[in-house]
């Protein structure tokens, strides 16, 4: 990683770029091209190329390390090498130019480096601190103080973050639209309450694995952030139907909702979603094992825009659910039914005969559905846009059944334990030999 050195040794102020003049000894490229054009060219380069250019000459060093080239910096690839001083030097050099910074996985970054960053780069809009395990609430306090333009923030897996961070962000970052606080397990309802009061513009909230959050916390978010389009509460194991009811009551614009592995939810959740969220296009409810056909009936009748559904391991659902989905959701394009062990060929017949089947259905996952047989594949032969079908561990499916499906839908990818079909080469040879025989005869 070159920029490490470059930044340590050549921290210069920006004014030098305008002062520098070209002498007769310079390389022809510097004489022919005005420095504005060189700067323009450099602005298209990535981090590594810029650092290489910075080593060419003093002139190029100044141009390549000019802040205007460093508006979007992603240091994810160098996560192991990045230490505090690198970030400090980048912040000093880029100043107000820096709009997007990703320090994803840079585990040795500390609060101190990010404090300097927050002070220097006040125009930052996107910041990714995923898995920067060292950072604490201090970082977020500085962000709240200085970064008023922040609209996109990812602090997932930073486990030292607490409610204080969210309070600080709500005080300063009113333009926040996207926030990811997944696996920040210290966050509680109080933090969500504070955040929802300050950041009304949120359209995406990702909070996977927030085990301390209960219905109350989700309620604050739902009530105060009505612009929410995307909510992810994967593995928030303490939430119940009440939380989903709040979402249904307030977030009418919601498009994406993930409630996978929220194991306490029951059909009441699906009913409230059906009543409030008519625009829902994606619903992920894997491992919600209390859901039954009744819940999906209520949902399907009202949410006719559903395109993607993940119902993996909703073990109670039967062919009836598939019947409702087939009847009421004509836009369905991806459907995951893995480990739904009660499903039979009859249910797949409904899917195959539905309105979505011929045009929209692209992906169908049926792993570990033990009752599915080759007859299901026959029912799906009309699904012209089907791109991929998963059949792992469906033990009644045979090689012949898959072969028949492939002849009807030649572009489909069938995922099963059988070897993928390869065109048999021996056929051509056999014929040729026969012909040779003929000529000899």
């Amino acid at each position: 990683m070159n920029n490490h050195n470059s930044f340590n040794h050549h921290v210069k102020s920006r004014s030098e770029v305008s002062n520098i003049s070209i002498s007769d000894d310079d390389a022809p490229i510097n004489k022919k091209l005005p420095k504005e054009l060189l700067l323009r060219i450099f602005s298209f380069l990535d981090v590594v190329s810029l650092c290489r250019c910075a080593k060419v000459s003093k002139f190029w060093n100044l141009l390549a390390l000019d802040g205007s080239n460093w508006q979007r910096v992603d240091l994810f690839e160098f996560q192991r090498d990045i230490v505090g001083p690198v970030v400090e030097n980048i912040s000093k050099r880029c100043g107000g130019f820096l709009k997007s910074l990703s320090l994803r996985g840079c585990q040795s970054i500390t609060d101190n480096a990010l404090k300097i960053f927050a002070q220097q780069c006040r125009n930052i809009e996107e910041l990714n601190l995923n898995n920067c395990k060292e950072i604490t609430d201090v970082t977020c306090e500085h962000l709240g103080k200085h970064s008023h333009k922040l609209s996109w923030l990812d602090i997932s897996s930073c486990q030292q973050i607490t409610d204080k961070s969210l309070k600080a962000l709500s005080d300063g970052c009113h333009t926040l639209q996207f926030i990811n606080i997944s696996w920040c397990t210290r966050i509680t309802n109080d933090g969500l309450e504070a955040m929802s009061k300050g950041c009304h513009n949120l359209h995406t909230f990702i909070g996977k694995g927030l085990t301390q959050v209960t219905d109350e916390g989700v309620g604050y978010i739902a009530k105060n952030c009505e612009k929410l389009k995307k909510i992810n509460l994967h593995s928030c194991t303490n939430i119940t139907d009440d939380a989903v009811q709040e979402i249904g009551d307030h977030c009418h614009q919601i498009l994406f909702l993930c409630l996978s592995n929220c194991t306490r939810l029951t059909d009441a959740s699906l009913v409230s979603l059906g009543q409030g969220c008519h625009n829902l296009t994606t619903l992920e409810v894997a491992d919600c094992s209390h859901f039954t056909d009744n819940g999906f009936q209520a949902l399907a009748r009202n949410c006719s825009n559903l395109e993607k559904m993940d119902l993996e391991e909703c073990i109670q659902i039967t062919d009836t659910t598939l019947n409702y989905l087939a009847m009421f959701c004509p836009k369905l394009s991806a459907l995951s039914l893995s480990h739904c062990e009660l499903l039979t060929d009859e249910g797949i017949r409904h899917v195959g005969a539905s309105a979505c089947a011929t045009e929209h259905l692209k992906i169908l996952e049926l792993d570990n559905c033990p009752l599915i047989t080759d007859a299901s594949l026959e029912h799906l032969m009309g699904c012209q846009s089907l791109e991929r079908i998963e059949l792992y561990d469906c033990q009644l499916i045979t090689r012949a059944g898959i072969r028949r499906l492939r002849t009807r839908l030649p572009n489909i990818k069938v995922h099963a334990y059988f070897a993928p079909v390869t065109p048999p080469p021996s056929v051509g040879n056999g014929r040729q030999r026969y012909c040779k025989c003929c000529t000899i005869l």
Partner: protein, 406 residues
């Protein structure tokens, strides 16, 4: 393209199998060359895992390629978290345990604290069940034990550790395994130093000895396993007398069942040499004379040679024992020379010369006796190869005695 997706699925199958049963103690490949049903090729029963043959190649191909593109930092490489890395490297070493990159990545994971040494030892033991000779696995385990020793030493307090460690290892005694009458006072002496601090480490070290035994059961003349066992005794158990005794006892039965396993005999030779080095302690603490031990070993070896004719390894072992016996005669006598019971200094000079001649006589008798027994019993054998081996042995003794004289 399609085979790619199968690899991914097989890996997740493997992971779920290990999640379902963390106590898997054996695995093997089943001779199923092509998938007959659309069924997972991983079969789990009573902690035993079977992988159908056709899936092994796909699984390894997928895991290896994914890991290597990540390792080379290629542009389109998938981001892999610590958990992914643990699963991928596990899949690789189960199929090909000599992939040092995979083991090295696991070393890095241990250093960063994402993987526990105990877990990795468990995986290594599992791998050795299927690939008992894998040198990379053994060298990885050496590394694991070194880190374990380091962490134990770092945890325990101060400088007393190095002194007490010998006693601590002595403290672990498998009394049943040792047919030596221990002086009760000596036993009490051991109990003064309680080994509460590192029961884990000793447990691991003794488990490792058992693992080596298993590996040498599975593969004849398993040099790697036996030399690893030597390493464990030396570096993890400090060649403590009680461990050496226990090992001598447990391997005695083993070598009598594996008479052609030179590596096994070499291990016993190592044990005897280490006991010889500590023969003074041996006498003081256990009232066991080293000479008796070696004579017993010679008797057993002669017995084995009689029962199983024509096995070269036995004859080589006999050479070692005999040479060692001759040496112990000289060493034993020299020890007596400087014993404090000689009160008069004037007598010592006289005594030395007397003893020297006595020693030479004794040795001569020994040599003649050995040649005599071999000529009588073995040279008359009907087995041609056995006769050649006996003849070679006699030639060697004569050469050896000449070298002693000069």
């Amino acid at each position: 393209m399609s085979s790619d997706s199968r690899g991914c699925r097989l890996l997740s199958d493997l992971n779920s199998v290990f999640r379902k049963d963390p106590e898997i103690d054996e695995y093997d490949f089943l001779p199923v060359l092509e998938p007959k049903h659309n069924r997972s090729p991983l079969i789990l029963q009573d902690h035993k895992l079977g992988l159908e043959m056709w899936s092994v190649k796909i699984l390894h191909h997928y895991a290896y390629n994914t890991l290597m593109t990540w390792r080379m930092k290629e542009v389109n490489a998938k981001f892999l978290g610590q958990l992914d890395l643990i699963c991928l490297t596990r899949a690789i070493v189960l199929v090909n345990p000599d992939c040092s990159t995979a083991w090295n990545i696991r070393k890095e994971l241990i250093e960063s604290g994402d993987l526990s040494v105990a877990d990795d030892l468990k995986l290594g033991a599992l791998v050795l069940g299927k690939h008992p000779k894998s040198p990379e696995t053994f060298s990885h385990r050496k590394w694991l034990f070194t880190t374990l020793v380091d962490s134990c030493l770092a945890n325990s307090s101060g400088s007393t550790v190095s002194n007490s460690s010998v006693n601590m290892y002595n403290n672990f005694v498998n009394m049943d395994a040792i047919d030596v009458n221990l002086d009760p006072n000596v036993q009490n002496g051991f109990n003064v130093e309680p080994s509460s601090k590192q029961p884990d480490f000793q447990e691991h070290a003794f488990k490792e000895l058992r693992n080596c035994q298993k590996a040498s059961d599975k593969y004849p003349s398993n040099y790697n396993a036996w030399s690893h066992r030597i390493w464990v005794v030396k570096h993890c158990l400090n060649c403590s007398l009680q461990v050496l005794f226990g090992e001598l006892h447990t391997t005695e039965n083993w070598v009598s069942k594996h008479i052609s396993d030179h590596s096994g005999f070499h291990y016993r030779q190592f044990l005897l040499t280490s006991l010889q080095k500590q023969s003074i302690d041996l006498k003081e603490q256990f009232s066991v004379c080293y000479k008796n031990l070696i004579q017993k070993e010679l008797a057993t070896t002669i017995d084995l040679i009689k029962c199983y004719e024509g096995h070269e390894a036995l004859w080589y072992h006999r050479r070692y024992i005999f040479q060692n016996l001759c040496q112990s005669y000289s060493a034993g006598t020299l020890l007596e020379l400087f014993h404090p019971q000689h009160e008069y200094e004037d007598d010592i000079v006289l005594n030395i010369s007397q003893k020297k001649t006595k020693l030479e006589n004794e040795r001569q008798v020994l040599l003649l006796k050995e040649i005599d027994t071999v000529t009588k019993s073995d040279l008359t054998s009907k087995d041609k190869f056995h006769k050649t081996l006996a003849q070679k042995y006699i030639d060697w003794i004569q050469k050896f005695s000449r070298s002693l004289e000069s």
